[in-house]
């Protein structure tokens, strides 16, 4: 049984109140967050008020009570929360209070979830280490000298450090799955269009997706079922779609066909490769069929991704001009353009500025065809190749990341070296597919290793079923000594 169901049971039987539970988490955050930096904003008063409201519903045995009622959680700081500062961990948005709730948060709030605070991240979700946050970066609860991964750095650290029962992150090129892998937790990137992006502060609109992170597959399934589904406020969300993964977790996986794509293992460390291959044997022992295949187009996914993501970021971040919201320069200027340039240059971090400029370059006259248009064609090619694979196979299994967690600050030295950290995750975003990272072992140094399972579009039920059966069979997850001990 996952943590959500266990706690929900205690809350419904009144053996524990949501207020007591929330206070435990707040006390743990006060003690451990100065080290872990998982949260950049702790919403103590709001959390206790929400917990009190949850206790009222539980006491009245209201039909509004769900498994999420009274459960403490965290939200990545690029998910809009009405009246609660939402900064994207950037100087550009310090002091910004959204005037509406993101749909994903609204759906959780309506089910009675309790928001503990906003979690740390790479600035505007651009990064794979947590280092580009304008605040002190989050640290890995398994080894505080190491990175959490990114960009959902704080969301992963909060779950691994027992400072939240679950969190929401966002994933554009691996930003839920890679930190999940580094921190030994489960992280789901849903199909593009499965979860509303309304209220998710945009990085790359054709790639971004909100995804849950938790210690168990059951918890991830419960949260995904709650937040997913069509939203009229997001025209890219799938019409008529309602997720139902929790009820299908325990299906038999005998006869499931799993592909192993050779290109995903190029450049992966031997230790990680060995762990994932051990996991494949577990699936075989449970009756799944494994077959090795090749998708050569995967080689172009990473540069195509960075062209497309940076192009979209260049467009999306043009709105930060010091006029309607966000930072405005206090210096002197002679024109509107100069005011905007100064505001943006003073407020954006270096990685954000680099990506905006690359995006502008690939969209500019004379370069558009060679870069952006070609990257879009490669994207279609990669998508088509994956669609063909899923005509025959139920899932693909790969490593979530080529390495285990690296030392903090390593990726700041060379921006393009940092991009290689995303090589296992980015093809999934390019093709709009769902994928989950599940802990599958620990390195000799005790660092978590994540296995990525990919399925066809809107087949999160297959994905989470396979992941659940694996977790039941192998019981890999380890607890850290931080946070709340239940």
């Amino acid at each position: 049984m996952g943590k959500i169901e266990t706690l929900s049971s205690l809350l419904r039987r009144r053996e524990l109140s949501s207020k007591e539970l929330t206070q435990k988490y707040l006390d743990a955050i006060e003690r451990d967050n100065p080290t872990l930096n998982a949260y950049v904003n702790v919403t103590t008063q709001q959390a206790l008020l929400q917990a009190e409201n949850a206790d009222k519903l539980l006491g009245d045995n209201s039909d509004k009570v769900s498994m999420l009622t009274g459960i403490p959680m965290g939200l990545k700081d690029n998910i809009s929360t009405r009246g609660i500062e939402t900064t994207c961990c950037s100087k550009m948005l310090k002091g910004y209070n959204p005037i509406y709730d993101a749909t994903a948060w609204q759906r959780l709030r309506e089910k009675g979830a309790v928001l503990l605070g906003k979690t740390n991240m790479d600035e505007f979700a651009m990064g794979s280490s947590g280092d580009t946050s304008c605040f002190a970066p989050a640290v890995n609860p398994f080894d505080t000298s190491r990175s959490t991964g990114g960009s959902s750095s704080g969301s992963a650290a909060a779950v691994a450090g027992n400072l939240a029962v679950f969190t929401l992150g966002s994933d554009t090129g691996g930003s839920v799955r890679q930190p999940a892998s580094f921190c030994g937790v489960v992280g789901l990137k849903p199909t593009y269009g499965a979860v509303s992006r309304n209220g998710l502060i945009a990085f790359a609109s054709s790639l971004d997706q909100i995804g849950p992170m938790a210690m168990s597959i059951e918890d991830v399934a419960i949260v995904f079922d709650a937040i997913g589904g069509h939203d009229p406020m997001d025209s890219t969300s799938k019409v008529g779609y309602t997720p139902d993964t929790y009820s299908k977790l325990k299906c038999d996986i005998t006869g499931k066909k799993i592909a192993v794509v050779r290109e995903f293992y190029e450049g992966v460390s031997p230790e990680v490769t060995q762990m994932v291959e051990n996991s494949l044997k577990v699936f075989e022992s449970m009756g799944a069929d494994i077959e090795y295949i090749s998708i050569p187009q995967v080689h172009f996914a990473l540069p195509a991704y960075y062209i497309l993501a940076c192009a979209e970021a260049s467009s999306n971040l043009a709105r930060y001009d010091g006029v309607r919201y966000g930072y405005k320069t206090q210096g002197e200027y002679d024109s509107i353009n100069e005011m905007m340039s100064k505001s943006r240059s003073e407020a954006f971090g270096e990685e954000v500025k680099r990506r905006i400029m690359l995006g502008t370059y690939v969209l500019s006259h004379g370069y558009y065809d060679a870069y952006y248009k070609k990257a879009q064609m490669l994207r279609h090619s990669v998508t088509h190749a994956f669609d063909k694979v899923f005509e025959k196979f139920d899932a693909i299994i790969t490593p979530s990341s080529p390495t285990t967690a690296f030392k903090r600050g390593t990726l700041l030295k060379d921006p393009t070296e940092a991009y290689k950290a995303d090589m296992c995750t980015v093809p999934v975003n390019i093709a709009g597919l769902p994928a989950v990272s599940v802990p599958c072992g620990y390195s000799e140094k005790g660092l978590p290793v994540g296995m990525q399972i990919i399925a066809g579009k809107f087949r999160e039920d297959i994905l989470l079923n396979l992941a659940y059966r694996f977790q039941e069979e192998v019981c890999v997850s380890r607890n850290t000594d931080w946070g709340v001990s239940l």
């Binding site: 209070n97 005037i99 172009f300 062209i307 006029v323 879009q376 064609m377 090619s381 060379d414």
Partner: protein, 92 residues
């Protein structure tokens, strides 16, 4: 390698400015990023042979009047506002 003129053009289009000290570092970084992106030039016609077969449809909503967002809310995050408008100081 990105030239200084190209870099200045990109910075202008991006509404970003760098001082002389930052210029060399940003120019180097951007050049390396462009080299990274250049890998797609290795893709052949076969690699891009699959056109997008997704149907492109405009997603429209019902032509109904919905409540507007409150003006005060919209202005609540503005660095400068006056009389219900975003304020930009006049410059020559």
């Amino acid at each position: 390698m990105i030239t200084k003129k190209e870099f200045e053009n990109i910075a202008t289009l991006s509404r970003l400015s760098t001082d002389d000290g930052e210029y060399n570092r940003f120019c180097d970084d951007l050049s390396r990023m462009v080299e990274f992106a250049d890998r797609i030039k290795e893709a052949t016609a076969d690699d891009t042979a699959y056109p997008c077969d997704a149907k492109v449809e405009a997603v429209l909503r019902e032509d109904k009047v919905y409540p507007c967002t409150d003006r005060e809310d919209i202005l609540s995050n503005a660095p400068c506002s006056q009389d219900g408008f975003f304020l930009l100081r006049k410059r020559a």
